[in-house]
């Protein structure tokens, strides 16, 4: 029983840590900014909304898009267009990678040590 609770607590901690790590990575990915070509929507005039954003931040999915109707130009800031979909997709993606990495970190050394131990025992 105790072992089960401890295991659950451990797993919860792992998930919590991985969620935090992936969130941080997601936010850090805002530092990755790339240019998009300005595209004027056919038949749409006299509205900034007719234009596609010229810059987007976030990787691999764009999370923050430069609002073409708001200063400053060609620069990303908090006043620009935040896309929750891109944010969550990135977060989920990084969460998966983080969990995988943590599993590998936890499992691999044990495997390696275990194989080493068996070698030592036979000698």
């Amino acid at each position: 029983m105790m072992f089960g609770m401890k295991l659950m607590a451990t797993r919860s901690s792992v998930y919590l840590v991985s969620i935090l790590i992936s969130l941080i990575i997601t936010l850090i990915s805002l530092g990755y900014q790339r240019d998009l070509n300005i595209v004027v929507e056919p038949g749409c005039t006299f509205a900034a909304e007719c234009f596609s954003p010229s810059k987007v931040a976030g990787f691999p999915f764009g999370m923050l898009y430069d609002d073409p109707g708001i200063s400053v130009s060609d620069s990303i800031g908090i006043e620009d267009d935040w896309r929750w979909l891109g944010f969550f997709l990135n977060w989920i993606l990084y969460e998966i990678f983080t969990l995988l990495a943590m599993i590998l970190v936890k499992v691999l050394p044990g495997k390696l040590l275990g194989s080493r131990g068996s070698v030592g025992a036979t000698s």
Binding site: A47, A48, E49, G69, I70, S71, V72, I78, E79
Partner: protein, 905 residues
């Protein structure tokens, strides 16, 4: 150039008389503040005056020859004794002063130090004897003129009485001169200072001229001597230094003697002077102070400006010789100089210098600006930058604009105006504050324009797009400026007749069908209830129901009520009961509430029932009438919202007394448009209303522009009454400290004072252009490509890639939700500015457009948005300060590039 443009603006606005007075103020500033070279430049700008550069005398020439040369140069300024002195004045002075009161000549003379029988002047007096005269028309012929006095004769100047007959009078203003012992200072065996020379003055202001020499400057001897500079200490009776003059210029190796005009100083209480080596630098050489001359300037100031210079009016700040580099991490500001500048309005002149300015090499961006701080060290003044110091000049004055100080300035500093991008260094020399004599200006305005000055008062309120007015909004009501009305005074809402007409136009509806309802419920031979009134369908597609219900048998104890039901080809879509005996009034847009009929027509049937509840077992008994309407096509909800707001505005003074539960309907509320918007309106046709675009540089193209908050733009623009943020820029985000936030410029079309700061050829744009008189504006649109021909409406132009309303049609493409400001025109005369309230996001098509339409604005464009959204009134300050995350990042007011502002003149 800036000065020229400013003078032109002043001329245009205030007329010739004021301009000429301004010119004299400029001249006074030049003389007072910056001595010879600044006076030359400013006076040349203002009134094409003469030039008196300091001369250096070649070492090869004996001193006597040098004196001769001095005399040969100075006669350029002489007035011919045989000619009336008035001819030395400009025609403009003469014309503008025709109406000035004529001053008795003798009285003028009495005002001057009139020791006409002077002793034979000493050599130095002979060189510099300044003869200043005032004739009957003081302003015309008063001036300082250098006279040669051959043979020791008293200098003579001819003065003309009444500008007609030339009456010869000999008037002399005594200059005070003194000599030092020709001793070297700051040499190995010498002290830093000369002997002290006692002087006796009448107090007041004197121009100081210093002479210095170095006999070792002979050919081949000490060919490289630097920092041979000295100052004059002004001492009181206790021997304390009260003030120190500006330093002389280093005596060049080729000269043995030099004459420097070092400025004008107050000699009140000064009883002695002495020379003192500046002792600055690493390679200091000795110098021989020769003499000093003090020239009284009282007459010049009295005659030319009518301003008492001894009063606290003109303030001049002398900077220490500090070089501003313009590169981050290096010295970009001077040390702070303590000052005492009282609140008021000032014209500010800055003088730049660069003693190492090469003649040939091009050195751009040698600009600086003046920052002023109050007692608490808070930045309260930031001027526009000076113009670039012209190549080939070592000093140059700049007029940087008029500023209104609301608090006293306790210290000032110079700051390089260009950071980064490889600017060149510059040295602030002086800053001069010239108070604008408001009484004088208002007198002039009254002379030429019978309309009195507008009072700077304003008010504001917020209105929701559903027509609700936020009673909790700031009602910063000081009063009303005729011609500049900001809807929202609780005395009359200040919706002018013209604006009201616009609102009426928006609500005007020609009833297509009007029918009467007169139905009575008759039960058992007794009239029980009656419903009377009208129902009409208007051209906007609305059905207006205005019925009154009466209880015909009040004593029977039965409840009466009315019932309205609307049906169309799809069946019943609306029914409402009302038992209010006071009336039954509502408007409804049936095509908003229901889809078009299945059969494609717009027929609506209205059934109006008069009812009575007879209780069990009879129950409700009703009698009805039906009326059919063919309503107009489905109307946009924007129009409906516009109508509703217009209704509210139109209700005027009674609005605040209206019941809160008056029909709000569902027209706007269900579109999540319950936002608040600040409305600011100006009547451009009123001569006291002066719109424009506030931007760093005031219409000069620059490599960078300082961003500032909306209140900073209000200060920069001067006398600003209302303002909203301008259009989009590139560069810094605007979240740093104000002077360091630099934009590379606007990226939507912007023309300021006739100068195109940016021509957006890459996008289709809508634009609003103002004419030079600023009394008319016009809406333009252009496809991608070059600018259209603005005609006379190209003096100030603001462009945007987003329209809000065009030809009275809302722009449905402008549906992004954010904070925005927008400006529009009604009848090319009323400038209507909207700005969403703090934290209240709005869509241009749903939120801003209905308000514009309610106000009769047919064309409007959207300005910058997000955290740049800002609105300002003079009484309430920044109306929509940032909140939440924006506040965290930008502070309560983001620095922005430009603002659309209106000032009261």
């Amino acid at each position: 150039m800036i000065a020229c443009e400013t003078f032109w603006n002043i001329r245009r606005t205030l007329g010739t008389t004021v301009l000429n007075r301004s010119l004299r103020i400029v001249k006074q500033a030049a003389v007072t503040a910056i001595g010879g070279f600044a006076a030359v430049a400013l006076y040349a700008t203002a009134a094409a005056a003469t030039e008196t550069p300091p001369e250096e005398i070649p070492a090869e020439e004996p001193a006597e020859q040098a004196d001769t040369e001095q005399r040969q140069i100075e006669p350029v300024e002489e007035s011919n004794p045989s000619e009336p002195a008035a001819e030395s004045t400009t025609n403009s002075d003469r014309v503008s002063d025709e109406n000035q009161p004529q001053v008795d000549f003798s009285a003028s003379v009495e005002n001057l130090p009139s020791d006409q029988q002077t002793d034979e002047p000493s050599e130095s007096e002979e060189l510099d004897s300044e003869v200043t005269s005032c004739d009957a028309d003081q302003e015309q012929s008063c001036g300082t003129e250098t006279k040669q006095t051959p043979g020791g004769e008293a200098p003579a100047v001819t003065a003309a009485a009444d500008g007609e007959s030339a009456t010869e009078e000999i008037v002399e203003i005594e200059s005070i001169s003194g000599e030092f012992n020709n001793q070297k200072i700051l040499n190995r065996d010498h002290a830093d200072t000369t002997n002290t020379v006692a002087i006796e003055t009448d107090g007041g202001y004197y121009e100081v001229v210093l002479r210095s020499r170095d006999d070792t400057h002979q050919p081949g001897v000490h060919t490289s001597q630097t920092q041979e500079q000295w100052v004059l200490d002004l001492l009181d009776t206790n021997g304390s230094v009260i003030e120190t003059t500006k330093a002389t210029t280093d005596l060049s190796d080729e000269a043995i003697e030099r004459r420097d005009e070092v400025g004008t100083y107050d000699f009140t209480g000064i009883t002695a002077v002495r020379g003192r080596h500046v002792r600055q630098g690493t390679s200091i050489n000795s110098i021989q102070p020769t003499s000093f001359t003090l020239k009284p300037t009282e007459c010049i100031i009295d005659c030319e400006t009518q301003v008492d210079v001894n009063g606290p009016s003109i303030e001049t700040v002398l900077f220490k010789d500090e070089r501003l580099i313009g590169v981050e991490g290096q010295q970009n500001t001077t040390s702070k100089i303590p000052v005492d500048i009282a609140p008021g309005r000032y014209e500010i002149f800055l003088v730049s210098k660069d003693s190492n300015h090469p003649d040939q090499a091009s050195q751009p961006d040698e600009k600086w600006r003046l920052n002023g701080y109050d007692e608490a060290g808070k930045l309260v003044l930031e001027t526009s930058p000076t113009s670039d110091l012209p190549d080939g000049k070592q000093a140059d004055p700049s007029y940087v604009g008029g500023y209104t100080l609301t608090t006293a300035i306790a210290s000032v500093e110079g700051q390089h105006a260009v950071l980064g991008g490889g600017p060149n260094s510059i040295e602030p020399a002086t800053a001069t504050f010239i108070p604008v004599d408001l009484d004088l200006l208002s007198e002039s305005i009254e002379e030429e324009n019978p309309i009195p000055r507008a009072e700077v008062k304003s008010s504001t309120f917020t209105v929701g797009v559903d027509g609700t007015i936020d009673d909790e909004a700031t009602l910063a009501i000081d009063g009303v400026i005729p011609g500049l009305f900001i809807a929202g005074s609780n005395t009359a809402l200040n919706v002018s007749e013209a604006l009201r007409a616009g609102a009426v136009a928006a609500t005007a509806s020609t009833p297509q069908q009007v029918v009467t309802i007169d139905v009575t419920e008759d039960w058992n031979g007794i009239d029980r209830s009656t419903l009377k009134g009208i129902v009409f369908g208007d051209s906007d597609g609305r059905i207006d129901v205005d019925l009154a219900l009466s209880d015909d048998a009040p004593t029977d104890g039965n409840q009466v009520y009315a019932k309205i039901r609307l049906t169309d080809g799809n069946g019943e879509f609306f029914e409402i009961k009302n038992d209010n005996p006071d009336g039954f009034f509502f408007k409804i847009n049936p095509r908003r509430s229901a889809p078009p009929n299945a059969d494609g027509n717009n027929d609506i049937t209205v059934r109006a029932s008069a009812c009575v509840d007879l209780g069990r077992p009879r129950g409700d008994q009703c009698t009805y009438q039906e009326r059919n309407f063919e309503v107009a096509d489905r109307i946009d909800y924007q129009d409906e919202c516009a109508n509703r707001i217009a209704d509210r505005l139109e209700s005027g003074i009674d609005y605040f007394g209206l019941s809160k539960n008056l029909l709000h309907s569902t027209v706007c509320d269900d579109d999540d448009l319950d936002t608040s918007i600040h409305i600011l309106i100006a009547d451009l046709a009123d001569p006291r209303v002066d719109p424009g675009i506030s931007i760093d540089g005031a219409g000069t193209r620059q490599s960078s522009y300082t961003l500032r908050p909306i209140s900073g733009h209000a200060q920069l623009f001067g006398d600003t009454v209302i303002a909203v943020n301008g259009n989009k820029w590139a560069g810094d985000q605007g979240r740093g400290s104000e002077p360091n936030d630099q934009a590379t410029g606007p990226i939507w079309t912007t023309i300021v004072n006739g100068t195109t700061l940016f021509d957006n050829v890459n996008s289709a744009e809508v634009l609003i252009g103002f004419n030079e008189e600023n009394n008319e504006a016009r809406f333009f649109e252009k496809p991608q490509g070059p600018l259209p021909d603005f005609g006379e409406h190209g003096h100030d132009v603001v462009g945007s890639i987003t329209s809000v309303v065009k030809n009275n049609e809302c722009n449905d493409a402008a549906n992004a939700e954010n904070n925005y400001s927008a400006i529009g025109l009604k009848d090319e005369r009323y400038l209507v500015m909207l700005s969403s309230s703090a934290g209240e996001k709005v869509r241009a098509n749903r939120g801003l457009c209905p308000v514009f339409k309610a106000l009769g604005v047919s064309d409007a464009l959207r300005l910058d948005g997000g955290s740049a959204t800002s609105a300002y009134t003079t009484s309430a300050g920044h109306l929509n300060e940032l909140e939440g995350l924006d506040d965290l990042v930008f502070g309560n007011s983001r620095n922005i590039l430009n603002a659309i502002a209106v000032r009261s003149v």
